[in-house]
Symmetry: C2
Subunit: 338 residues, 2 copies
């Protein structure tokens, strides 16, 4: 089979690789229906994370089950399945508590930009659709496997409630999906912080009621102006820098909540500042598995269309161009079709 | 009148002071029924916080209303009242959101170890009891004005739920009251971290089911052992040091909650560590006013008896000895009677 391999920053190659095999009875092999490039894939691409040795890439996937291990009964060959970027047994204490991305047997996906993919923990990870939905739904289902699930988690971690005011920091695919989630969870006012017109437009289409272009302390001050001087009930931090975290904390009202889903890079939170803010802070890799059945239903019912974050579609063998377009901000997110 | 004044670390004097007067129409004057020394009063006493100039001390109080300003209708002369260490108008947006200790007009009490006290924001701050309860309830009511309210907030911030496991870090008066709160909120297992036999005994009396004497990483490891290797659902951090915060975070299960109510002194939380823990973190000065009516009821119904944290009672004019006994750990908390 063929798949994407990173050799060095900026050097993504589409290569012939060994076909994946069932290694454990809990594995499944899927034939990729659609996959994509994630904002977090740009870290090694940009050299922010080191690449010590060549390795495959990709962690988002929708595919057809080809083969299952002997312990896998939840899905069967031929079914179209969606899974999380974090595989989980869905039976351990952390899974039962709803934090499948902290599963005691978690394995993170890393080989999905390929024709075929081995899925560990398949029994607990994969959710099959009812029949094979029309291809128009595949991008939405693909978004559910990571960015839409992560946006949903941002909204839950920030405790978005009906009638509340939510702010989304970050206008990447996750931030845009966070707008969808805030709307679905009933936020009355959704303020998207974005400087890019195409992303502002998509944010509005997804439910944003206001756009704020200022950043940092200026951005937080603008949020305070828009919220009676107090700050927002919920702030969804979808970036992961010290600046975005400070912007989020300073945009939240006393007793409000910040959900942070951008992996923090050199971020520290001052204990005394957090204390006197009364803000609740929770983040982490999204427990996408918890949301999969519900989000798949919402996509197939047409209630949400997170597939719109894909503004570039390429054949899988042009994956390198998919990275380049996102790196150069010509694309929000690249869909890849084998 | 007479009251306690700190002149320098270790130097508490009981002096003749000017009688307090109504300064604003929202003020009230109370005649102190009972007051006390707080663990946080030991910071300036020990020189951890500087004392630049002599000033009165004390922020916990139960008293009889002597006089009210023209805007105060909620309480009237002769009533026994309880208030919070943080006064609040109870009408601003932050108060309406339940965070009265972030009131836009908050004034923190600082003059309560005295015969008479001026209470700012009296209308929104003071809650009168129904008649004058028996004196045996006064210590419990006094605890409600700070340490019991703070313990309750720790349990709420840590989202203690029926049937859950709660850990309390810190065996001072707040930690002990946090045990009471965890029990009232339905925790099935309550693990108190304490090395002092008298405090362990009181923790058990208040509802602790287990005692852990280890601290730091050893303490966290012991909590993991007691909780199936996962960690506790809720951890109530009632100290405020980097060590106690780390101990709390490392004792909490993925997706669990830490409520931190000890004012943090040089505490920083690493963003990436918090991220991968999935832990929810919330703290702050307790919104005691939100809990006052309920906690007063619980005390007067005999459901809780937080007054037991007072293991030394002295006449107010011996306030200096009250500080000394707490500083030397001869007393958990000193009650003072005018």
């Amino acid at each position: 089979m063929r798949g994407a391999v990173i050799h060095a920053p900026g050097d993504i190659r589409f290569e012939t690789l060994q076909d994946p095999k069932i290694l454990k009875p809990t594995d499944a092999i899927i034939r990729t229906a659609v996959t994509c490039v994630c904002g977090s894939d740009l870290w090694p691409y940009r050299g922010v994370e080191p690449t010590d040795h060549a390795h495959p890439m990709g962690h988002e996937y929708v595919g057809f089950v080809e083969e299952v291990g002997s312990d896998v009964t939840a899905v069967k060959p031929g079914q179209l399945v969606v899974g999380s970027f974090a595989t989980s047994d869905n039976t351990c204490a952390n899974c039962r508590n709803g934090f499948q991305s902290s599963c005691l047997n978690v394995e993170f996906m890393t080989t999905c930009q390929a024709d075929y993919v081995r899925i560990p923990n398949a029994q607990g990870t994969l959710v099959a659709t009812d029949g094979v939905p029309d291809e128009k739904f595949w991008p939405g289902l693909l978004a559910v496997s990571d960015v839409m699930g992560t946006g949903w988690w941002a909204a839950e971690a920030a405790e978005v409630k009906p009638g509340s005011t939510a702010v989304v920091v970050g206008d990447g695919a996750v931030g845009l999906c966070a707008v969808i989630a805030a709307k679905e969870l009933g936020a009355e006012r959704i303020i998207a912080m974005s400087r890019h017109e195409s992303r502002q437009n998509l944010a509005r289409e997804f439910g944003a009621t206001d756009i704020v272009t200022e950043r940092g302390e200026e951005g937080a001050a603008r949020i305070k102006e828009l919220t009676g001087g107090i700050g927002a009930d919920s702030v969804l931090e979808c970036v992961g820098t010290q600046e975005s975290m400070s912007q989020a904390l300073h945009s939240t009202r006393p007793g409000g909540n910040v959900g942070f889903v951008g992996v923090p890079h050199e971020v520290a939170v001052d204990g005394q500042e957090l204390f006197f803010s009364h803000i609740g802070l929770r983040g982490g890799p999204a427990p996408v598995r918890r949301y999969l059945p519900d989000l798949i239903d919402r996509v197939l019912a047409g209630a949400i269309d997170p597939g719109k974050v894909f503004d570039l579609t390429l054949p899988l063998d042009q994956v390198a161009e998919g990275y380049k377009a996102m790196d150069e901000r010509r694309a929000i997110k690249t869909l890849l079709t084998p």
